[in-house]
């Protein structure tokens, strides 16, 4: 950490904390002041043939990719070893599942990006922040997929678990290992940097709809009744009436 340059410090310590800060504060701001704008902004009404394939493939692929990051980056190598998962089993699993997720995400994003750029009805609904998010997503996906697939095809790749992952985890405990990440291959560095940029853009784009995945639909009664009397504030479905909406809608 001692001989890191200012640029490196900014990239691997400053930017992440800046991004995290904007991510958190941005979401609080958006939730409080823009409930009306908080939507998936679906364009299925305008175009359905491409969406039918692109959207589910992309979303389910993304879930897999996020799961893979949790396993690969958040869980330290020592933990997987301690619970008795051999190194080569882990590698095969990560290469196999990782490649599957990569194929899904890439396939899905190609269909969706084509649709967004070439179908005039869809294009007309696209804001500049959406283009920004799309470009960042493309960078993150391409730089993420290339090493994953590379490992699978050319065997033994770069061991991000002992460099990128500790740095990332270090951010959350306040001691990021700058040397580890700054000596990692450029492709990982680009991947990480673009990912931080997405965290910055997230609260201001339609990506916020990810937090609204309505799981509570599974146990809520079918028909919702509400009083006209708005002084009796209804509880957010699925929260059992707890008060966490305090930071929520401004009424």
């Amino acid at each position: 950490m001692t001989n890191a340059s200012t640029g490196e410090l900014f990239l691997w310590v400053g930017l992440p904390y800046l991004a995290l800060g904007i991510f958190v504060v941005g979401h609080i701001w958006r939730w409080r002041y823009d409930q009306f704008g908080w939507t998936s902004r679906s364009t299925q009404l305008q175009e359905r043939k491409l969406l039918k394939w692109g959207s589910p493939i992309f979303h389910y692929g993304t879930f897999a990719a996020i799961g893979g990051h949790v396993i690969g980056v958040l869980i330290p190598e020592s933990v997987t070893r301690a619970i008795g998962i051999p190194e080569n089993v882990y590698r095969w699993f990560s290469a196999g599942a990782g490649t599957l997720a990569a194929v899904l995400v890439i396939g899905g994003v190609i269909v969706l990006a084509t649709r967004r750029l070439t179908v005039p009805r869809v294009r007309a609904t696209t804001a500049s922040v959406d283009y920004l998010a799309l470009v960042l997503l493309l960078i993150v996906i391409l730089t993420g997929v290339a090493p994953t697939v590379g490992v699978n095809m050319f065997g033994h790749g770069y061991d991000y678990r002992s460099t990128v992952a500790p740095w990332f985890r270090g951010l959350f405990i306040g001691s990021p290992d700058v040397t580890a990440i700054s000596t990692a291959p450029v492709i990982y560095q680009v991947h990480a940097t673009a990912a931080w940029m997405i965290w910055i853009v997230w609260p201001f784009s339609r990506l916020v709809h990810a937090w609204s995945y309505p799981l509570w639909y599974l146990w809520r009664p079918y028909v919702v009744y509400r009083s006209r009397d708005t002084s009796r504030r209804p509880s957010e479905p699925g929260t059992g009436g707890r008060k966490w909406r305090k930071i929520g809608a401004p009424y």
Binding site: Y33, D34, Q35, F36, G37, W38, T39, S40, R41, S42, T43, Q44, L45, Q46, E47, R48, L51, K52, S55, P56, F58, H59, Y60, P120, R121, R123, A124, T125, R206, H209, S212, Y213, P214, L215, W216, Y217, L218, R220, Y222, V223, V224, Y225, R226, S227, R228, D229, T230, S231, P234, E236, P237, G238, A249, Y251
Partner: protein, 544 residues
């Protein structure tokens, strides 16, 4: 028993002239904004016809409403909760904009700015979705008045089972209009389909609304409603639907479509119902029994036991009194001349229809008889298969006898009252033959033919002792002037609606007095909030 109240509507289809005034006034009030160009909270369809959106009544295709599973339990036709969540990223049952018609406007600029010349300029059609030129292929009411009927009307899902016989005949005589709004169902499948819990039915008056702040654009309500009365705003990415003009209803005024109806055919009133019986009624095994089952859910507001229960449930006294005078109760329950639209969707709709006698009378007329001769009309009602079966597909899930009974009663009113007015001999057996007393006939005549304003609309105002709080709900609709480049553009805050604040207390008079040409100080009434003193409002008495 759990008594709840629901505002409800009855439309008398015999009187609809298909003028679309209701659609236009509704649109001007609620949906004249970008993103809602194709949205008609109220629309009027020519029947037979494909409807709006195309073939919406075909639930084999769209999977709207409820159905019974193998064990006879109520299920959303599009599938259960897990399937809904799995289909969040692509909803296979959602109509596309082409099923409604790509909304368009015209390039009027070219007409105004065309240089002087010999050629007449023409305005191109421009899509509201892309702002680019387009070819108009389909839109609402493209089959109005049977336009292109041989091509389109055969796609009407209500013609099922009648295809071979109806074609020749309806082109000559058989046609009527069907105005439609949201049914504000007792068992709304739109609410049940909304995964976010953003849609709700109001406890007090049963109006079904979309909370614009909670909607996340999952669009399951659009496909879940079998009547296709929830629409997706393609600009805001949120669902919108008919509001039953709740700000007007709360003030005791009729909805805009009712108020402006040229035929004065709409009736508004309160219905009391037993919320505990709703699900059982909706799960009635035989579709043709659903009409009776829904009648069984309604409570008699004249019954003292019901009144006591209603009062215990917190329904105010004036609401119970209004329910007793409700024209909807009279038409639907007491006289049984109004029928629900497509009861087989199992949502227990609350906008009911008096089926039209006119198509039948037209047939009598075309056959060279006097359409007012009850014998001929009765004989025709009994023998005429096509319009009756068609109406039965619309209103009774195919039970023709129910429709026939209503039409016989309507014909009897005409004959009986006509004889009375012309001083002819009244057939005193006629009321009994249609299951009514002479008093019933007279009441119906008053309600249907005279149809005074205060008889048609019996709406108790909301108990808005705390009216200011209601503004929270009005926010779901932002100012209609807030369009791009519109006069109210932008507005304040994320809703584009300025917050309603009481005017600031008056702090001084410095800026409220002015010196006029006569050299005296005057008080400026402009902007005075009526509080505090108003010095110099009256001239000082001068020396006399």
């Amino acid at each position: 028993m759990r008594v709840m109240a629901n505002v409800a509507m009855v439309m008398n289809l015999d009187k609809c002239i298909g003028c679309h005034t209701c659609s236009v006034t509704c649109k001007q009030v609620w949906t004249n904004r970008p993103g809602t160009e194709y949205v008609y909270f109220n629309n009027v369809e020519t029947k037979p016809g494909v409807g709006y959106p195309k073939r919406y009544e075909d639930q084999e295709q769209w999977h709207g409403g409820w159905t019974l599973d193998r064990r006879g339990r109520l299920q959303l036709r599009a599938g259960g909760r897990v399937k809904k969540l799995a289909q969040l990223f692509y909803n296979p049952d959602l109509p596309s904009i082409d099923d409604y018609g790509d909304p368009w406007t015209y390039d009027y600029q070219t007409l105004i700015q065309a240089p002087l010349g010999t050629h007449n300029p023409s305005a191109r059609s421009i899509s509201a979705l892309t702002g680019k030129g387009m070819d108009v292929k389909w839109g609402s009411n493209f089959d109005d008045d049977l336009a292109g009927a041989p091509e389109h009307a055969v796609d009407d899902p209500d013609l099922i089972g009648l295809e071979d016989r109806v074609r020749m005949e309806f082109e000559q005589v058989f046609m009527f209009y069907l105005p439609r709004i949201c049914e504000h169902c007792l068992n709304p499948s739109c609410v049940a389909s909304c995964p976010s819990g953003a849609m709700y039915k109001r406890e007090e008056d049963g109006i079904v609304l979309v909370d614009q702040d909670r909607c996340r654009g999952w669009r399951m309500c659009v496909s879940g409603c079998p009547y296709k009365k929830v629409y997706f705003n393609h600009r805001t990415g949120k669902a919108e639907k008919c509001t039953f003009c709740f700000p007007r209803i709360e003030a005791g005024q009729p909805t805009v479509c009712s108020e402006t109806c040229v035929g004065r055919l709409r009736y508004l009133g309160l219905m009391l119902y037993d919320a505990d019986r709703v699900l059982d009624a909706a799960a009635t095994p035989d579709e043709q029994d659903l009409y009776e089952a829904q009648l069984g859910v309604f409570l008699d507001p004249h019954d003292p036991a019901v009144q006591a229960e209603a009062a215990a449930a917190g329904i105010p006294h004036d609401w119970i009194a209004a329910a007793q005078r409700s024209p909807v109760y009279e038409l639907a329950v007491r006289h049984r001349v109004a029928l629900p639209l497509h009861p087989e969707y199992r949502t227990l709709p609350m906008v009911w229809y008096i089926p039209p006698l006119s198509p039948v009378a037209d047939v009598v007329h075309a056959a060279g008889y006097d359409p007012n001769d009850p014998d001929k009309v009765f004989a025709t009602i009994d023998s005429l298969r096509i319009p009756i079966d068609y109406l039965a597909n619309l209103f009774t899930a195919g039970a023709a006898e129910t429709v026939r009974a209503v039409l016989r009663k309507l014909a009897a009113i005409r004959a009986y009252m006509r004889a009375a007015q012309l001083g002819l001999d009244r057939d005193e057996d006629l009321p009994g033959s249609v299951g009514a007393t002479p008093d019933d006939i007279d009441d119906l005549y008053r309600l249907l033919a005279i149809a005074k304003y205060e008889d048609r609309y019996v709406i108790p105002p909301a108990h808005a002792e705390d009216a200011g709080r209601l503004m929270g709900q009005h926010e779901q609709l932002f100012c209609s002037l807030d369009t791009d480049g519109g006069p109210g553009m932008g507005g304040a805050g994320p809703h584009g609606i300025a917050s309603y604040r009481p005017s600031q207390p008056d702090t001084g008079h410095a800026d409220q007095t002015f010196r006029a040409d006569d050299g005296r100080s005057h008080f400026n009434l402009l902007g005075w909030d009526g509080r505090g003193s108003a010095p110099n409002l009256f001239p000082e008495p001068g020396p006399s």
